[in-house]
């Protein structure tokens, strides 16, 4: 019971799930981002993980340069082209160092000023 209680404040999931994204999941932003960043609940294998950003027409608008963000091991980032006003879909897949795979999708909207 003590072990379980001590785990309460830890992150959930031994698999790498999306914990926080920038732009946020479902967010509407005034300024188009230069990159999309996803922080996961676990470390990820950058070579086996990826992020794609598509516009409303399904056209890929990222620069295909997925990389770990800085010195972190649990955050991926991808640069995007200049985004115009509209809704974008982010598709990601991740692999933990132990080989577990996860995937997900979310949207964000560029509103413009």
């Amino acid at each position: 019971m003590v072990m379980m209680a001590s785990c309460v404040v830890q992150e959930a999931f031994g698999h790498a799930f999306l914990d926080k994204a920038t732009p946020g999941v479902g967010a509407t932003v005034d300024v188009a981002p230069a990159e999309v960043k996803i922080a996961f609940t676990d470390d990820v294998n950058a070579k086996e993980s990826g992020i794609e950003v598509m516009d409303a027409a399904g056209k890929e608008v990222d620069k295909q340069d997925v990389h770990l963000d800085g010195e972190t091991k649990d955050t991926l980032a991808v640069s995007v082209k200049t985004l115009s006003v509209g809704t974008y879909t982010v598709k990601w897949h991740a692999m933990c160092p132990d080989g577990h795979k996860t995937e997900g999708t979310f949207e964000f909207t560029v509103k413009g000023k």
Partner: protein, 300 residues
């Protein structure tokens, strides 16, 4: 290659109809948690320990009402891709009204489960299996069945992540269910239809797909749900349905899940008092990925 090996290889090859679903229960982007009173549809390496429930049984068949506490475990292991074998055992403490306590082991229960179809984009899964309650393996002191019961079962799961954007707040909903037909080996025991359904709203799915929430752990990954499970006898007497409606919540942690539910009798035959159940599921493939999360044979 002998005949048995050919059969096992064929079963593994049929997994071509099934997406990757090793370890945790995933269909596409949807994680289906193990649920307490309704078995989930996934063949995976899992350990439920302990499951502890309290319920007051109604009087019936000449027996007085009784308070009952059950403690149990279940262990399931992937054997070949998409096929798991499982074993469960429990211990009961029963206190009939006006009588002395009765304690003892329940009958051993075995199960086999095979994932027939996993449709990732639609977050849908169908599995089939058989559960066997092995008669006479439990304690006579709690009047366990001396005969065995076999229950072929169909399991399903559906996540609603494929709903249109206009219904995006419903996307975190998932439903799982089971339907099984009991065949007791005793001529005097009735056949029965066992059924159950779990309806969940996954906060984690909401955060990851619909809208960011700034909630603290463990609430940001909790899953409120309602399970309804019961059994309907079909012969050897008037048909009766008994079961419970179980509202509760699951909390997802890194290596385990804690679930707690109320057990509300659905009718007078099921009882008149609300019980409770608490369960811990261990995600073995995360605890020890070298040992668990992969089939014993023909693993990827």
């Amino acid at each position: 290659m002998n005949f048995a090996t050919k059969v096992i290889a064929l079963i593994a090859a049929l997994g071509g109809f099934v997406g990757s679903a090793f370890g945790h229960g995933f269909a596409g982007e949807r994680f289906f948690p193990p649920t307490i009173t309704t078995d989930d549809p996934f063949a995976a390496d899992e350990l439920a320990f302990p499951t502890v429930s309290y319920f007051k049984n109604p009087a019936g068949d000449g027996a007085p009402a009784s308070r009952e506490i059950d403690g149990s475990f279940e262990f399931d292991k992937l054997i070949v891709p998409h096929l798991s074998l499982g074993v469960s055992e429990g211990y009961s403490w029963i206190h009939p009204t006006g009588e002395s306590h009765q304690n003892g082991f329940q009958n051993l229960s075995l199960n086999v489960k095979y994932e027939l179809l996993v449709d990732g984009p639609h977050e849908f899964i169908v599995s089939v299996g058989v559960e066997a309650d092995v008669g006479g393996t439990g304690s006579k002191s709690i009047d366990r069945d001396s005969f065995s019961t076999f229950t072929p079962t169909v399991y399903f799961g559906k996540g609603f992540g494929d709903l249109p954007k206009s219904l995006e707040w419903m996307k975190p909903v998932a439903v799982t269910g089971t339907v099984g037909q009991e065949f007791p080996t005793s001529a005097g025991a009735p056949n029965a239809l066992d059924w159950g359904v779990a309806v969940e709203y996954q906060i984690s799915y909401l955060r990851q797909h619909v809208a960011a929430l700034n909630w603290p752990a463990p609430f940001k990954d909790m899953i409120p749900l309602v399970e309804i499970s019961g059994s309907t006898t079909e012969n050897r007497g008037p048909s009766t349905t008994t079961g419970t409606v179980n509202p509760g919540v699951l909390f997802e942690m890194k290596y385990f899940q804690v679930g707690v539910e109320a057990l509300i009798p659905m009718n007078r035959d099921s009882g008149e008092n609300v019980g409770a159940v608490i369960q811990v599921w261990w995600f073995l493939d995360d605890i020890e990925p070298k040992l668990f999360g992969k089939p014993l044979f023909f693993g990827e």
